[in-house]
């Protein structure tokens, strides 16, 4: 049963398995284990980013393609839902329309970019996606009549998903069964299903071919696989998954703007999560996203106290200020590319 669910891709390491089970249980029972708005928000973000990071890993880790346009697809998914909810009113039909439209646009764009630039070197694709994604972000902030510009869009979501809605008056473990809880479980189960689908994809014959293309494109071509076709399909699949993650984000935070979906900072965050978690393992996405978002939410306050403690010393307070946490992550990132290219998951597996 579990083998079928995981598509035969077991963690292959006891500590890793325990860690994954712990993360899974925490996320599944987050509203009951950690009551309060901020923990629930953190848990939902972790679910969404697991999907987003896993979809990026499909590209980076399994196919060996570096793309800087992943936030563009994430943003398209989010804006699809936002625009549909804004124009069609707060209904589930609008969400469905938005999700379908966003995913379709993402796929078409990914196909176009892929056909254009995947024939040549990996470097080429990275540069083209960087340019296209920046142009897209600028375009979104310029076309403020449609997208709300830098301010973004706020909209209403179906009443069943808002805190005002009560399913029953009964309390479960002292937690109110309200719309916010339903919205969380919508996010959680969608993320779970999407993650399992991606796990299925990478463990299918198609996924195996992707790895062959990654390891030696020339040989894969010689055996008779159309390398461009496989790379393009992987790009489109990962773009579709990223848009679905974007749609979940749009439903959860009821706001869509360039800063939450399209910015380069998020792209860098995704890159850090994939590499630190472990490239080429879907479980790396789970670990990377969970650790990173927990750190982002809670470590920064620790850094603030470190800054306060070192106040008065030269340079040190500047280095440990919470705004500088990317400095440390960037250093960690470079070190992990050199010394732990398999990330945390690779480390845990090698020990076992």
């Amino acid at each position: 049963m579990i083998d079928t669910l995981l598509s035969g891709d077991r963690p292959h390491s006891r500590p890793l398995a325990l860690l994954l089970i712990a993360i899974g249980l925490c996320l599944a029972f987050a509203p009951f284990l950690f009551p309060g708005t901020k923990p629930l928000d953190t848990a939902a973000r972790i679910c969404i980013f697991i999907v987003l990071v896993a979809s990026y890993d499909l590209l980076l880790g399994y196919t060996g393609i570096v793309s800087f346009a992943h936030t563009m697809f994430f943003g398209i998914g989010a804006y699809g839902v936002a625009l549909a909810l804004g124009s069609l009113g707060a209904s589930f039909l609008a969400i469905l329309v938005g999700v379908l439209a966003g995913t379709a646009v993402s796929c078409a764009l990914a196909l176009a970019i892929g056909l254009f630039s995947l024939r040549v070197k990996a470097i080429f694709f990275a540069m083209v996606t960087l340019a296209v994604a920046s142009a897209f972000a600028v375009l979104v902030s310029q076309l403020s009549s449609i997208t709300g510009g830098e301010d973004g869009l706020t909209y209403r979501i179906p009443r069943e998903l808002t805190p005002a809605f009560r399913l029953t008056d009964m309390r479960l473990f002292d937690v109110r069964i309200d719309g916010r809880l339903l919205a969380y479980y919508l996010v959680f189960f969608s993320a779970l299903v999407l993650f399992l689908i991606m796990l299925r994809i990478v463990n299918s014959p198609f996924g195996t071919t992707l790895k062959a293309v990654r390891d030696n494109a020339f040989r894969a071509e010689a055996i008779g696989y159309r390398v461009v076709l496989y790379r393009t399909t992987a790009t489109v699949l990962s773009a579709a998954m990223a848009s679905l993650a974007g749609a979940l984000l749009a439903i959860w935070i009821r706001y869509t703007g360039p800063a939450t979906t399209l910015s380069m900072e998020i792209m860098i965050d995704i890159l850090l999560m994939v590499v630190i978690g472990g490239m080429g393992t879907m479980y790396g996405a789970v670990i990377g996203a969970s650790l990173f978002i927990l750190a982002q939410t809670y470590l920064q306050s620790l850094m603030a106290s470190a800054e306060a403690a070192t106040r008065g010393m030269p340079l040190l307070p500047d280095l440990v200020a919470p705004e500088r946490w990317l400095l440390w992550l960037g250093t960690l990132f470079i070190l992990s590319v050199y010394f732990f290219p398999d990330g945390i998951v690779g480390r845990l597996r090698n020990r076992g």
Partner: protein, 327 residues
Amino acid sequence: MERLGKAAPLLLAPVLALVGLVAVGDPSVWLTLTVAGLAMGLMIFIMASGLTVVFGLMDVINFGHGAFVSVGAFVGFTVLAWLSGWTQNPAVVLNLAAVFLAILASMAVTGALGLAFERVIVKPVYGHHLKQILVTMGGLIVAQQLIHVVWGPDAIHVARPPSLQGSFIIGEAAIEKYRMLAVAIGLVLFVAMRHVLRATKLGLLVRAGVENGEMVEALGYRINRLFLLVFMAGSALAGLGGIMWGLYQETITAHMGSEIMVLVFVVVIIGGLGSIEGCFIGALLVGLLSNYMAFMAPKVALVSTIALMVGVLMWRPQGLYPVVKAK
């Protein structure tokens, strides 16, 4: 026919300028926009040339190149602030001397930084593209954060020295003085670079290295030294581009480098990875097109350069002048 095919890219920039004249309509506005476009294009060329030669020679694309642009601008502005006695004086000689010293300082610092970057960050990952992209991106993040630590998180605003402010009036067209200076520096640099590559032994080695690095090594030249030298030169050029771009915008931020890198990448792709001439033409095209579009349809200016890139790639999938390694 084949010679025509080779020469065709040369005609692109003049053709674009002519199309711009028709589209803009007013000749004096067109002249202003064209000079602005050339200035912008040449500044981008200065930043992009280092990147593209480094790729041609070493098969490395430095995604952290933008960090050198930012650092160059910050160092240059610091020097200009020290020399405020010279920059606030209306004398042209003192102003230019201050700018010149600032340029020298930022090129020296970014060149040294390039040395460190190549040794520490890039060298361990030669020949491995995926890791190169990731690691140089990491270098960019760290460098940007260090700029924040050293110079503080806010954007810095510095006015140009008085003799570089204002414009010449030619007929009805106003042409900013600083843009003329940028065009002059850019052209001199292009000619000098071509001279070095075509007529000196160093240039010969670099060109040979682009063609076939192993053979150069087999003939007894230390290609690693050559790599390092070219990387440092490319970094110093990025620093030069950074201070020029900073003086153009009169505001500098730690992210200015990574923002301008978008255009730099577009230029490098249009020109063909590794080609100086292609990079020059690409930079002029992007500069001109952005300025015409900024005048006619400001909202889609950046998208138009992407469209230009797509168009060029449809015509020549590896850029205007592809170099052997860019396959």
